[in-house]
Amino acid sequence: MDDRQLTMVYRPSSIVTQPNMMNPQPSLRLLPLLLKATLLFVLFNFAFTFISGLSLGKFSLYHSVFPGRERFPFGESQKGYNLSLFNLDAMFASHVLVGTPKETNEYRVFLIGDSSVWGTLLTPEQTLAGQLNSQNISACGKTVHAYNLGYPYISLLQEVMILDEALQYEPDMVVWLTTLESFPRDKQLAAPLVANSPERVKQLITNYQLPLDPNDPSLNHATLWDQTFVNQRKDLANLIRLQIYGALWASTGIDQFYPEDYERAQTDFEADYEFHGIKPNETLQGKLSIEILDAGMNAAGVPTILVNEPILVSDGVNSDIRYNFFYPRWAFDEFRALLDEHTSSRGYHYVGLWDLVPMTEFTNSGVHLTPFGESMLAEKVGEAIQSFCK
């Protein structure tokens, strides 16, 4: 017997040798295997960059398998069956608007704005859109159907980006609820949805001639490496998760986690006079993105109502200095004056509802309303829709 046919075999009490059974299978050559696997993995990743440019977000189970959502997906909460993803195509594809053909007697109203329009801590029925729809109001002889196109994070450019995408769905009117916090120039590109949509921003800059830099470092321009499967896996997983959450939305009607207890909005403040680094002896003129407001107001080609949305007006400590956590009084008062002047000079439909809702009807922020606060707002917005319709 050849020595090479002897194989060491382990036994409990001794090491013994035993003839090897002739094995016709070739032994594994590990290094070539690992090299091939690595090469295939690299090739697959770079092949993936070709499809990562496609609008994968447009493929959706909503409207075919599941009903569309009443508002955009937002909020990283498994309890709320919701997630944030920075893919406008996917956000729209899951929205009820996309799957709802416009009926002849429908007066279609788009509500644009921040988290207050989206409805933080409110069920879909309690949001502004939900309450307007439950009022069954008519405008221009048609039934008003409001669509919630609000999205948390405060930035005028984000709101214009959403409006620009929504225009293909035939609005009869746009109601744009906004507040001073959306206006500062430094906030425009900082919103994650904006920062992760550089191509859309570039298009908006061109179409609306906005004084913004398309190569601003705040914008996340994807490199080839960013487009590989390894780097895109989270976005892909989010797209799949959005579809799966469709089942939960359909079965429960829940699209947000509603905690039983939350921290109420601050009503006592430090004696802080500054707004975004601007002092009371300075002016807001030139520091707000009025040109983005103009772009949005003129984008739709249908009646567009600008609403200075309700803010918390505190009566707590230092409330003579500040209205709320966001605004020192001087800054918000100057903003109101600016807005009054600008909207009247441009002939915009403008409604100032900033002090409509009492302090007790705010929830966890100076702009988030309780269901009752929302109903007060809905009543006024409903009246505005009826009076400004054409």
Partner: protein, 487 residues
């Protein structure tokens, strides 16, 4: 096991399978398995418990090897080397606290070396004393089995776990108000304890021993003597540490003793199994987990149709999750020459409940059958006055209750066990009744009945998951009512 741990396990198994042979392979597998006991252990809020809990696992393994091995077995070269490897790994894990700013082999920073050395010394003294006693008093083997079962019951019982956590927190001057039943998560203990009980039971040597049966086992050579490296590797084998399957020692040792060289074909087969397992677990099961029935959905779902969908999602999620892990374990083990037993054989395609239980978590079912059902049946048959159906009902109910309790000592797991116990009994009665009255020769009708049986069995099992998935009986009964449209 997370993806990182699975990836590391695959890579190390590939290296061990491709580059080691014979004894070297056994020692590598021992070292990796002991290391995995520490690495896979999740963090627990009690300081250093994520080190001490795995250390206790290792201690139990060594203790039980000593008391079930022949006198002086430890003096052989490979057993001394095995002890050195085990102690060396424990010390190595402890030493990482001195060389790395963040823990790398344990969830939190391991304790100081002096404490670990002290622990090793004390356990050595305990093992020596206990082994000495076990040679003289057979009852010590029963004592160890009872201890293992007691630990298992405590870990599986939320109330007892919580009490134990409060006890440890009081002992270590930590706040007791944040104590939780999850504080004492002991990775893989359900499997470790069942493997150890299997060995203890099959190795028990005297006819006086209460669970005896070993004389036959030894005569048939079913359970040969195992060296410490073989024994320890069998009990804490890293691919099957956290989710099984529960192999038999003699079969496992047989694979370990075989000369093994990883071939291209073996690698391909193992790779396929791992990929299938990864897909089942991390794509299908994890996606289904998002919509699978749970306590929150039990109250949130608005219609019966959707409740059924969430229940189906749970039924498939639990299958793909568990069978996916099994595929991964079988695939990784195959890379090092161990052919772990199958745990699933298309359970949802079976036409009756008995066949379902012969194809669902098969190694657990076989274990329970060997070490509980057969013994229980023998015992209950001694009551000759009892009618046959009572014995059958008691046997099936008791067995399924034990399986339920193995998953957790809660009312819902008891209800789940009772549901299946009664189901098996009813199916058995119906089967006997139908056989005596109907003689179906029509093949088409047989096919229809077969399909009907699969659908009925699947739905019976799925409805049983309502108890398994939810934490409270009230929630489960609420879901049952909603499923059938009862307001």
């Amino acid at each position: 096991m997370g993806l990182t741990q699975i990836g590391a396990s695959i890579l190390t198994a590939l290296l061990v399978g491709a580059w080691t042979r014979g004894t070297t392979r056994v020692f590598f597998l021992l070292a990796l398995s002991v290391l995995a006991v520490f690495w896979f252990q999740p963090a627990v809020p009690l300081r250093s418990f994520d080190f001490w809990i795995p250390s206790l696992s290792i201690f139990l393994v060594v203790l039980i090897w000593f008391i079930t091995s022949p006198v002086g077995a430890w003096r052989t070269r490979q057993n001394i080397l095995g002890l050195a490897v085990i102690a060396g790994i424990v010390i190595l894990v402890s030493l990482t606290r001195y060389f790395f700013p963040d823990p790398i082999l344990t969830a939190t920073t391991p304790p100081r070396l002096i404490l670990v050395v002290g622990f090793i010394f004390l356990t050595a003294v305990f093992i020596a004393s206990f082994t000495y006693l076990s040679r003289r008093f057979v009852v010590t083997l029963s004592l160890v089995i009872i201890t293992l079962l007691a630990i298992l019951i405590i870990l599986k019982s939320p109330t007892l776990s919580l009490q134990l956590s409060v006890f440890f927190r009081t002992l270590t001057n930590r706040p007791t108000d944040t104590a939780s039943a999850l504080d004492l998560r002991w990775l893989g203990f359900s499997y470790i304890s069942f493997r150890l009980i299997h060995i203890l039971r099959d190795k028990s040597r005297t006819p006086q021993f209460p669970l005896s049966g070993s004389v036959r086992d030894k005569q048939t050579g079913r359970l040969p003597e195992l060296s410490l490296p073989e024994f320890a590797t069998y009990v804490v084998f890293f691919p099957s540490l956290s989710a099984g399957p529960i192999d038999r020692a003699e079969r496992f040792a047989g694979d370990l003793k075989k000369d093994f060289a990883l071939t291209q074909e073996e690698t391909l087969l193992a790779g396929q199994r791992i990929v299938i397992g990864l897909f089942k677990k991390f794509v299908i099961a994890d996606a289904l987990a998002l919509i699978a029935l749970n306590d929150a959905l039990a109250v949130q779902v608005r219609t019966a149709d959707w409740m059924w969908i969430h229940l189906y999602a749970y039924a498939f999620q639990i299958y793909f999750d568990f069978s996916g892990y099994t595929d991964i374990a079988i695939g990784i083990a195959r890379l090092v020459g161990i052919k772990l037993p199958e745990n699933f054989a298309g359970p949802y395609t079976k036409p009756n409940l008995a066949q379902f239980w012969n194809s669902w978590h098969m190694t657990l079912t076989q274990w329970i059958r060997s070490y509980f059902f057969n013994l229980f049946n023998r015992w209950i048959r001694s009551y000759k006055s009892l009618p046959a159906w009572t014995m059958l009902l008691a046997g099936q109910l008791a067995t399924m209750l034990v399986i339920g309790l193995w998953h957790g000592v809660t009312v819902n797991f008891i209800l789940w066990g009772a549901w299946h116990g009664l189901g098996l009994f009813l199916q058995n009665r119906w089967s006997d009744f139908a056989k005596a009255r109907f003689n179906i020769n029509n093949t088409r009708l047989q096919s229809v009945l077969q399909v009907g049986g699969v659908i009925l069995t699947f739905h019976f099992v799925a409805l049983g998951w309502v108890f398994f998935a939810l934490s409270e009986p009230a929630l489960s009964f609420g879901v049952m009512m909603k499923l059938f449209g009862i307001p």
